[in-house]
């Protein structure tokens, strides 16, 4: 029973980690409708920024989010404006995918050039402290990730539903042409959304960097799972992505313990395929989903 609880809690913590990394991707995927393969590299970039700010300036890793998130916002806007937007009118959408793959490879090699292949250690500043609840142990930093990911989903949900800009973003997601006819500057909305998506990853980087050593290819560890989470959540639903992340985290944890670490990816992706076959639109595509009408 004690072990079961520990496996359960480890799974939830892993789910929170996947959730905080996937929220930004959900926005970009659900609204701009770009399959952004450079998402993991944005995370990597953010983690290196956190590493630099903590080690060079002595800032607490969590506090770096107030600098790193805006910087990533700018990176996202620039990516959308100068890489994705020129390709939006291309005859084939796949060209954007290749562009993001190219961006991903370029960023990995840029990091190799700047930082080398070795790992960079962000000081954990107390976030690795284990906290015990009866028989169950978690790290303080993991609880922070869980809390921040919940707040992030609630906050973004409110922003999309309550504010004028949020409504405009949803309008663009539902029907790009109609939104444009209503006087919405679609290109501006895309830049804004890509920026917010990237800023979410910047926020995630501040939470993740103190717990995981940073290396140029750290993004590739997360990006595949992030896509699974987003698809499972119904492409563009924030709460769906959060629930999807939790499901993946739990399956990963239970399969890892009760079946074996060597087959846990088989189980995770097997369940993922099964869900897609049974419910092709993802588990949580509902009226709040941003992409149930294609552009």
């Amino acid at each position: 029973m004690e072990t079961f609880l520990q496996v359960l809690v480890s799974g939830l913590m892993l789910g929170a980690l996947f959730a905080i990394v996937s929220v930004g991707l959900t926005l970009i995927f659900g609204i701009v409708k770009v399959v952004n393969f450079a998402h993991g590299e944005f995370l990597m970039l953010g983690m290196y920024l956190v590493y630099l700010f903590t080690t060079k300036l002595g800032i607490h890793p969590l506090l770096t989010s107030v600098i790193v998130a805006p910087l990533l916002f700018v990176a996202g806007v620039v990516t959308q404006r100068f890489i994705i937007q020129p390709l939006m009118s291309a005859r084939d959408d796949h060209i954007q995918i290749f562009a993001t793959v190219g961006l991903s490879t370029a960023l990995i090699n840029l990091a190799l050039l700047l930082f080398g292949a070795d790992i960079a250690n962000t000081p954990s500043s107390g976030l690795r402290t284990p906290i015990t609840f009866g028989p169950v142990r978690v790290l303080l930093g993991q609880l922070v990730i869980l809390a921040v990911s919940i707040m992030l989903v609630i906050g973004l949900q409110a922003f999309l539903k309550r504010t004028q800009t949020g409504r405009a973003i949803r309008a663009v997601a539902q029907n790009r042409a109609a939104a444009q006819l209503m006087g919405i500057n679609v290109n501006r909305i895309y830049m804004l959304t890509f920026g917010i998506g990237a800023a979410c990853v910047g926020l995630a980087a501040s939470m993740v960097a103190p717990l995981y050593p940073t290396s140029p290819n750290i993004g590739t560890y997360f990006v595949l799972t992030a896509f699974v989470v987003v698809v499972l959540g119904g492409l563009g639903s924030l709460t769906g992505a959060f629930a999807g992340a939790m499901i993946i985290g739990l399956i990963d944890s239970f399969a890892g313990f009760y079946i074996g670490s060597d087959v846990r990816e088989v189980v995770v992706f097997g369940v993922f395929l099964l869900i897609l076959i049974l419910k092709p639109s993802g588990l949580f595509s509902n009226r709040l989903s941003l992409s149930h009408v294609s552009p």
Partner: protein, 400 residues
């Protein structure tokens, strides 16, 4: 009077430079110089460069100056392409390399077809020398040597240190599930069974993992006293941290190479957490130099040439292999492939005579049968040699 002298001198200079131009032998240096593996690829190549410097300073090979031609094996396809270029365009007499097993396996096939000797100085996969190639030789210890050394250390040091019979220990084997971890762990399991050890858990995991807590729980539940991990860097850090945070403290953790030998790993995990963790890998630098003659001179030469201390033992092992091979070729006449093969087959260097400690003598398959790894331990934030005794600079600590 002056003019003829000048003419004579010019003529002499032309003759000299012409003969100098002829008197050089080209070898290929095929390593990943860019991309993911660049760090240790370059570190490996530096060992070869220092060996060439020393050979040239001592008059070259058969009186000819050695010239290295670099090839960048950034991935398997490029390794093949660069091997072709080195052989047909640059006309190298042999290729030295490669650090990465996959690239060595790919490129050596090209060399074999062209009948050019291929000298592997650093890749560890079994398949490098198990394919029956005629022109392939490997000087460094490989996966099997690593598995054997790990198990020897458990039987001869860890078990007595704990006051237990080796058979009473519970062994957990975990490994990243690519060909590297899989082959080393298989050798570990084979040797462990041979020595009557009790393996309670054996599990692979993907190296690109972000969570090992379920594996830690499995080991804890199985009651493993000794954990053998074969891993890269991220997963080494992750395992040591998550085991520590889960309150799991096995009596001994023995890492196999990769991440376990690198200083940033210790810095990431924390020096207190990695204290007393054991590691089996290529010979590093904090070792009894009586067992590794020439090691200090190598470190000096390295510092002078590159301005920093060696970053890992890869350079040392490449240096040792390259130097022995080139010296043997120096005793032959000519650079025909079969002459070179015959020369290196005659190498017979006893253990304790090289800067890496191990001797060199090639077996039928081209593997150096005397190659051996070394047992090390993290003590006070430094990786020091502890096994075998002849090479040890510190006592092997067993907690508990």
């Amino acid at each position: 009077m002056k003019l003829p002298n000048l003419l004579k001198m010019t003529a002499a200079a032309i003759v000299l430079s012409a003969s100098a131009a002829h008197a050089e032998v080209k070898f290929g240096a095929l390593y990943p110089f860019s991309g993911q593996l660049a760090l240790l690829g370059e570190e490996s190549a530096r060992g070869l460069e220092i060996a060439v410097d020393e050979i040239n300073a001592a008059g070259g090979i058969q009186g000819e100056k050695v010239v290295l031609v670099k090839g960048d094996a950034v991935d398997n396809n490029q390794a093949i392409g660069e091997a072709r270029r080195l052989i047909s365009l640059e006309k190298v007499s042999a290729i030295f390399g490669t650090y990465s097993s996959a690239r060595s396996i790919a490129a050596s096939q090209v060399a074999e077809l062209s009948g050019i000797p291929y000298f592997e100085l650093g890749a560890v996969a079994d398949e490098v020398t198990s394919r029956g190639l005629k022109y392939m030789f490997r000087t460094n210890p490989y996966a099997k040597d690593m598995g054997e050394m790990v198990v020897d250390m458990v039987v001869e040091k860890v078990a007595p240190g704990l006051g237990k019979q080796p058979g009473d220990l519970k062994i957990g084997i975990i490994y990243e599930d690519s060909s590297y971890g899989t082959s080393v762990s298989k050798h570990q399991a084979d040797f462990a069974k041979e020595k009557g050890l009790n393996i309670v858990l054996s599990s692979g995991y993907p190296a690109a993992t972000v969570d090992m807590s379920s594996l830690v729980l499995q080991l804890k539940q199985a009651g493993a006293d000794v954990v053998l991990q074969t891993s890269y860097q991220n997963d080494s850090v992750l395992f040591l941290q998550q085991a520590n945070e889960a309150g799991y403290k096995p009596a001994a953790v023995i890492g196999g190479g990769g991440g376990y030998s690198m200083q940033p790993t210790a810095d990431a995990v924390g020096h207190d957490v990695i204290e007393n963790v054991l590691d089996v890998d290529f010979t590093q630098f904090l070792v009894n130099t009586k067992a590794t003659p020439g090691l200090e001179a190598f470190v000096e030469a390295y510092k002078e040439k590159y301005g920093i201390a060696p970053r890992s033992g890869h350079s040392l092992n490449n240096y040792v292999g390259a130097k022995a091979l080139m010296e043997s070729i120096g005793k032959a006449e000519g650079f025909e492939p079969d002459t070179i093969v015959e020369a290196v087959k005659a190498i017979d260097i006893a253990d304790g005579q090289t800067a890496a400690g191990y001797g060199i003598k090639f077996g039928e398959n081209g593997q150096n049968e005397r190659a051996a790894m070394m047992g090390m331990q993290w003590q006070g934030g430094k990786l020091v040699a502890v096994y075998p005794d002849a090479a040890a600079v510190s006592k092997l600590n067993i907690a508990n």
